[in-house]
Amino acid sequence: MTVLALHRPAPRPQHTYVPARPQGSDGVGVRIAGLTKGFGDHPVLRGIDLELAPGEFVAVVGRSGCGKSTLLRLLAGLDTSDGGTLRLDDGDVTGFAGRTRIMFQDSRLLPWKRVIDNVGLGLRGDWRPVAQEALRQVGLERRAGEWPAVLSGGQRQRVALARALVSHPGLLLLDEPLGALDALTRIEMQSLVEAVWRRQGFTAVLVTHDVAEAVTLADRVILVEEGRIALDVPVDLPRPRERSHPDFAALEGRILSHLLRREDADA
């Protein structure tokens, strides 16, 4: 018996659920320097320098094809860069997994697994209570036994969020996860994302084409243009943010006009 016990794999503490951490204590810092990436002859990122503090919420906006999604995929380890460095507090981005989780625009739930099994994907040990708790955080604890096919688009994204949260990510990457939702569901999801971010304190990078969404959620909005960072503005508005607030509108206007100016120049 004792011999067997020696061969048992070490317990994986990151999968035991610890509720309500103080903000900022759990996030991973990110340092990006001179990051480049091209596809064929076409350069997509032409030297990105960016530092993210642990627990910071950063939104990346930009027009289609500006390289914002590519940046996110490099951070996730889904692609490899051509040059420059990309470093997390707890080591280089060496591939998949680790403490980084990504949420895609489509929920990418496995249709052949029940909601709870989707949330517990890849977890070991006694994961069911942990997954159940993650579902509770997104308000879907009663849908645990259902097939993803019967859920609405917004509910599927909430399950995807629970799946990303269940392993307590240090860095959560959000690739336009609310892009396909209707306006009302979007606003609900935004406050949900903000709430779990404040509770868990992970570092978050949100790629979006919706400037209002970026200003609602982020500590800092970064505008990427032609593979470079064109604008880096802090958002010093109290949370939860009111879209009708004049400061909100002013900031949104400033970022938008920057975006539109480029469009005029192109035309």
């Binding site: 996730a76 380890g77 889904l78 998949f96 997994a97 680790g98 980084t100 989780r101 990504i102 895609f104 489509d106 990418r108 496995l110 249709p111 052949w112 697994k113 994907l121 890849g122 097939w147 993803p148 096919a149 799946r163």
Partner: protein
């Protein structure tokens, strides 16, 4: 309430309406003497032949022999097809190496191999197993391969970024994603399985349903020949029902298979 039961009953019975009507018409016409018994014996005679052969244990023996061949051939051929499909679906190198060869063999009608197979194996069990396995292999191979290749790449990417091991990726993402296609291959394969077996048994065998029918022909026992034909129809339907049941059971998540 009772109307719902009537409707449910009607739903179950309706598919059998045409077969039963056809059988009734057959018996009626034969009784009236409109069909020569040399062409088609009376249904009641066929049933009597069935009862007689069941009583003597002969029918059961033949059924058992056919089932054993079908099952063994299916397992061998289906297993090979599945493994090949898996290999070529996952590893592009394997596909480059093997696929052309498999496609060439596939395009030889396997029943045309019968003369060669008899030369190789004589009329023993191996000949029939070989033919069934050869016939069953390709639909399973093609659909497994296709199923694996068409698994949503986004799901595989998600699985990898969520830290699944290669094994978990295979068993939790790739295989379930390929399953609908694999089951279609299974249904095709079951059809080919019976077809091949019957042909093989009529040509060279000393037991089995095909042999029973061929043997009866020698003695002009038309009723037994027809009994064999009816058994084929029933066995084919049975195989299809099993495949459907399997689909329903394993594809419960699929919107197309969910009960209304």
């Amino acid at each position: 309430m009772s109307r719902a039961i009537v409707r449910a009953g009607a739903d179950r019975l309706l598919p059998w309406l045409l077969p039963v009507l056809a059988l009734a018409a057959w018996e009626g016409l034969a009784q009236a003497g409109l069909i020569s018994t040399r062409v088609l014996p009376k249904l009641s005679d066929v049933a009597l032949a069935g009862v007689r052969l069941t009583g003597s244990g002969e029918l059961f023996g033949h059924l058992q022999a056919s089932f054993a061949r079908a099952g063994a051939g299916f397992l061998i051929g289906g297993g090979l097809g599945f493994v090949l499909g898996l290999l070529n679906g996952i590893f592009p190198v394997a596909e480059k190496l093997l696929d052309s060869t498999v496609q060439m063999i596939r395009n030889v009608p396997h029943l045309a191999m019968i003369p060669l197979v008899i030369l190789w194996f004589g009329i023993d069990e191996e000949a029939k197993l070989f033919l069934v396995a050869l016939g069953v292999m390709f639909p399973i191979y093609l659909n497994t391969f296709h199923g694996i290749r068409t698994v949503d790449a986004g799901l595989i990417e998600m699985g990898r970024s969520y830290g699944l091991t290669h094994w978990q990726l295979l068993t939790e993402v790739i295989l379930p994603g390929a399953l609908p296609s694999i089951l279609i291959g299974l249904r095709f394969a079951l059809g080919i399985m019976w077809l091949t077996l019957i042909v093989a048994e009529t040509i060279s065998a000393s037991s089995g349903i095909g042999y029973m029918a061929m043997n009866a022909r020698e003695f002009l026992q038309t009723d037994v020949v027809v009994l064999g034909v009816l058994l084929y129809a029933l066995l084919g339907k049975l195989a299809d029902s099993v495949a459907r049941l399997l689909e329903r059971w394993s594809l419960g998540w699929h919107p197309a298979f969910q009960k209304p």
